[in-house]
């Protein structure tokens, strides 16, 4: 069903329509929350809070912007609120705990490839560690902009809208993030 039709149905109180909207976007929202908050429980809370807020304020959505952008504006605000609430910045482990075990971006390479070339596997692990370290070194906004642009495919204008900033500000954030990546990884690739 077309998204606008789903949104209108959800605004009229159709629970199935709202569920379809949730399922269309919730992986991305959860991913952003996990990458930014680096805690399964916090990401879980951010997911719940985001979609409950969206549910309660969906009647205010007037189709004057893209629904995904509007949804991510809520999600990014929730995540940034969570970060602000952490008065003392927690240590952000490279390995994120999940119910099915540890989620480590460094261990993301296919196993057969790793077994076939141990040296390459070692290099990839080291590269993964570098990437993890540089991601941790980004500010919350830089990480958010990078996540939304690189992994979620958002345009910079939409990222600016989602963060309540200008496109230029989002571009500057992205530039700083990629500059840090380049400095940390440039000699490795």
């Amino acid at each position: 069903m077309e998204e606008a039709v789903l949104i209108r149905a959800a605004q009229k109180g159709d629970p199935d329509a709202f569920e379809q909207l949730v399922h269309a976007y919730d992986r991305g929202v959860l991913r952003v929350a996990m990458n930014l908050l680096r805690s399964t429980e916090d990401a879980y809370d951010a997911y719940q809070e985001t979609f409950l807020r969206v549910f309660k304020s969906l009647h205010l959505f007037r189709f004057d912007c893209n629904f995904q952008t509007w949804l991510y504006r809520v999600a990014t605000n929730v995540c940034l609120d969570h970060l602000r609430k952490r008065k003392v910045r927690r240590e952000e482990p490279a390995v994120v705990e999940t119910e099915e075990g540890q989620w480590n971006r460094m261990d993301n390479l296919p196993e057969d490839r790793a077994q076939a070339d141990p040296q390459r596997n070692l290099l990839n692990r080291q590269l993964g560690e570098r990437i993890e370290a540089v991601l941790q070194g980004l500010t919350a906004k830089e990480r958010m902009v990078f996540e939304l642009r690189h992994y979620q495919g958002f345009r910079l204008r939409a990222i600016g809208e989602a963060l309540g900033a200008s496109e230029e500000a989002a571009k500057t954030c992205l530039f700083r993030a990629t500059q840090k990546m380049r400095a940390a990884l440039g000699d490795f690739v």
């Binding site: 949730v22 996990m34 979609f51 119910e99 099915e100 971006r105 690189h150 990629t178």
Partner: protein, 293 residues
């Protein structure tokens, strides 16, 4: 375009964020500059390395998020919007559940507050015929019972309002009203009375969404012995896997030896695979065996 501006454009080019003119200028510069071409190749390699590390959140976590959200939405959807409470109340007259809720509120209000004041009453909300008596004149006497709404406004911490909220949390027949009252109460300072009400809801509320909300509100008390007892009971007896998962999470905030047996028992009888996995993980975290011998 010079080397400095070309370097600034590497990522923007790869993300497709340059205008057509900027792209053309960028490509023209690369064609004539071997240094920038080499640096750009390195930038592309960085992007590829980052792409290779993309991973979606684990499916069990997503499933848990969806399941619990559904529970919370069921409860949230049952609450009337504020505008509907004041202007859209007529449909409630034809809905038995709505009428029951109104009657219940009226009952609590009568129980917990002083005599009604004429300045805060509204028009009759529900009328029903209680008695019909034919008269010798040929007329009929009809006795009508009106249920009236009245409103009280005050700080949630005011004693009267607080008691009404506690009563609504425990006794209202409307799940939405119970959840709404619980939400307001859970933002209030901790008290034994509030804790008792939340524990009662966790154990007795028929709506899983309300029970889940009670669990959320019990987080600040999670290390208290009576709360841990109620969590253990919910873990073994609640039929909703979302509640059981949350109960494990709260219990695991304070790892105690006594939990090992409880978790091992649950692993043996748990029918939900996600809760089972969560249990096994909790046991591993406590260096305990998953099975009993």
């Amino acid at each position: 375009m010079n080397c400095e501006s070309a370097t600034r454009s590497f990522s923007l080019f790869l993300y497709g964020e340059l205008s057509i003119e900027e792209e053309q200028s960028f490509q023209d510069h690369l064609e004539g500059c071997a240094g920038c071409r080499k640096a750009f190749e390195a930038e592309k390699a960085i992007h590829q390395a980052l792409d290779a590390r993309e991973k979606l959140p684990p499916a069990p976590l997503l499933a848990r998020c969806r399941r619990d959200l559904k529970l919370r939405l069921d409860v949230t959807a049952a609450r009337p919007a504020p505008w509907r409470a004041w202007f859209g109340w007529w449909p409630a007259l034809v809905r038995p559940a709505g009428a029951l809720a109104l009657v219940a509120v009226g009952f609590f209000a009568a129980r917990w507050t002083s005599a009604p004041r004429p300045d805060n009453t509204l028009d009759p909300m529900v009328s029903r015929v209680r008695y019909v008596q034919p008269e010798s004149s040929g007329k009929v006497r009809v006795v009508i019972e009106d249920t009236r709404q009245r409103f009280l406004t005050g700080d949630p911490g005011d004693e009267q309002i607080h008691r009404l909220l506690l009563a609504a949390t425990r006794e209202s027949s409307d799940a939405g009203l119970r959840a709404e009252s619980m939400d307001i109460l859970s933002a209030q300072p901790a008290s034994n009375e509030l804790r008792g009400t939340l524990l009662y809801a966790l154990e007795h509320d028929p709506n899983p969404g309300v029970r889940l909300k009670a669990l959320d509100a019990l987080k600040p008390y999670a290390s208290a012995p009576d709360v841990r007892g109620a969590l253990a009971k919910a873990l073994l007896a609640d039929d909703n896997p979302g509640i059981r998962t949350q109960a494990i999470d709260l219990l695991m905030q304070k790892k105690e030896e006594a939990m090992v047996g409880l978790l091992q028992e649950l692993v043996q009888k748990e029918s939900d695979s996600y809760v089972g996995l969560r249990c096994q993980k909790a046991l591993r975290e406590m260096d305990a065996s998953v099975g009993t011998f």
